[in-house]
Symmetry: C2
Subunit: 197 residues, 2 copies
DNA sequence: AAGGTAGCAGACAGGTCTGTCTGTCTTCAA
DNA sequence: TTGAAGACAGACAGACCTGTCTGCTACCTT
C-alpha cells in the first residue's frame, strides 16, 4: 500500500534497522546463542548477504544489539528521571521505579546483559559491551549520589547497583514484579541513611 | 598406581560420578549451551554410550548437574550457618557471609541457575530445576525469619532474597567480591528493622 | 568354564549453524 | 544509456552437535 520508492542509502538503512529490530526481539526472547542467523534474516525479511555486509558477522550483530539495548535503557532512564523527579536524592530512589516499569512489560526476561553474559566466552564482544553497561550503571548512581551530597558516594552507588541487580533478577527468576517495591523500599532507607536532609 | 579392582556396580557409579564432576566444571565455567557432549566425555574419560545409559540425554545430564549444584549449595549453607551462628537472627545475616565465600573462589562465575536460565527454552529442565532452587532460597530466608520472630516474614524474606541475588550478580558482573560486604550491611539493617530485640 | 553385564572406543547418521558465493533485479549516477 | 551499488534468493562448504550403533574387553555370576 505505502510502496515508497527508496534510494539505495534508504534501502540499506531500512534493512539494517529491520535486522536490528529482529535481532532485538529474538535475541532477548530466546537468548543470543539459541537464535541462529537464519531466524533473524527470516524475521527481518532480508537476505543473508545483507546481514553480513551490514554487520560483518554474528558477533557484529550481537554487539549492535547489546549497544542498542544499552542506549535505549540509558535514554529511557535519563528521560524518566528528568520528567518524574526534581532532586538527585529523589532520583536515586526513583531509578528503581523506572526500572520497575519494564518488569510488567510483556516478554520481560530480565537484564539482557546478564543473560547474554551467561554463556559468553571470555574476551568476546558480549563481555566488552557488558562492561560498558556496568560502567554506565555505576556512574548513573555515583553521579546522582555525588549531586545529592552523599558522604561516601562510591559506597552508596555500590549498594544501589546491588539493589538494582537484585530487583532485576528477582523479578525475572520469580516472575514477581513486586521486587520493584522491595528494592525501592530498601533503596530509600539506604539513601536516607547516607544523605542527611 | 592405585589400581583398585572394581565391581561393575562400582565401575558404573564411578563413571557416573566422573561424568557429573566433568559436567559441573565445564557447564559452570562455559555455560550449558556452549559445552558439547564430546567435551564432557573426554574430560570424564568415559564412552559416549556410558553417558547416555546413565543420564538418557544431554537434558538428563543438565538436570543432574543443576540438582547437584542445588544440593551442594543447600548443604553448604546449612552446615556453615549451623557451625558459625547460634540464633536465627544471626543466621539471616550470616547467610550473606556464607554466600560470599564463593565469590573469591577461583572460577567463580555467578549463580549457576541464573546462567543456565539465560538461554533456556520455556518449560525445559532448566526452568524446572531453577524453580526448585528459587523455592529453596525463599524458604531458607522465610523459615529463618519466622524463627527469628519477624512480623512479616514473607516480606523480609523477599528483601533478603533480593539482596542475595544482587550480591551474586554484582560480584560476578563487576568481578568485585566486596559485594558481600555491601549486601551484608544492608541485610543487617533490614533484619534489625524488622525484628525487635 | 561360560554367559551376561557394562564400560570403552569410535564410526555413523541426521540435523543445525556460520559464513561465502553465484546470479538476478532494481535504482541511482554519469 | 550504461555502469556501479546494493538488496534479494538460495545453494554450498565446512564445522559442530546430539544420539545410535557396532565391536571389543574386563569382570562377576552361575
Amino acid at each position: 500500500m505505502s510502496e515508497k520508492v527508496l534510494s539505495p542509502r534508504e534501502r540499506s538503512a531500512a534493512a539494517r534497522a529491520r535486522l536490528l529490530a529482529a535481532a532485538d526481539e529474538l535475541f532477548y526472547a530466546e537468548g543470543v546463542q539459541s537464535v541462529g542467523i537464519d531466524r533473524v534474516i527470516e524475521r527481518a525479511g532480508v537476505a543473508k548477504a545483507t546481514l553480513y555486509s551490514a554487520f560483518g558477522s554474528k558477533d557484529g550483530l550481537v554487539r549492535a544489539y547489546l549497544q542498542a539495548r544499552h542506549a535505549a535503557t540509558a535514554e529511557r532512564m535519563a528521560r524518566e528521571l528528568e520528567a518524574r523527579y526534581d532532586t538527585p536524592k529523589e532520583r536515586l530512589v526513583g531509578a528503581f521505579e523506572v526500572q520497575g516499569l519494564s518488569f510488567t512489560e510483556p516478554g520481560f526476561r530480565g537484564c539482557a546483559f546478564v543473560s547474554a553474559s551467561a554463556d559468553a566466552p571470555p574476551g568476546g564482544v558480549v563481555e566488552q559491551t557488558a562492561q560498558d553497561y556496568r560502567t554506565w550503571l555505576h556512574e548513573l548512581f555515583f553521579d546522582l549520589a555525588q549531586q545529592a551530597g552523599a558522604q561516601d558516594a562510591k559506597s552508596l552507588a555500590q549498594q544501589l547497583v546491588l539493589l538494582y541487580d537484585g530487583a532485576g533478577i528477582s523479578a525475572w527468576m520469580d516472575r514477581n514484579p513486586s521486587a520493584e517495591t522491595a528494592a525501592r523500599t530498601m533503596a530509600a532507607a539506604v539513601v536516607d541513611a547516607a544523605i542527611p536532609d
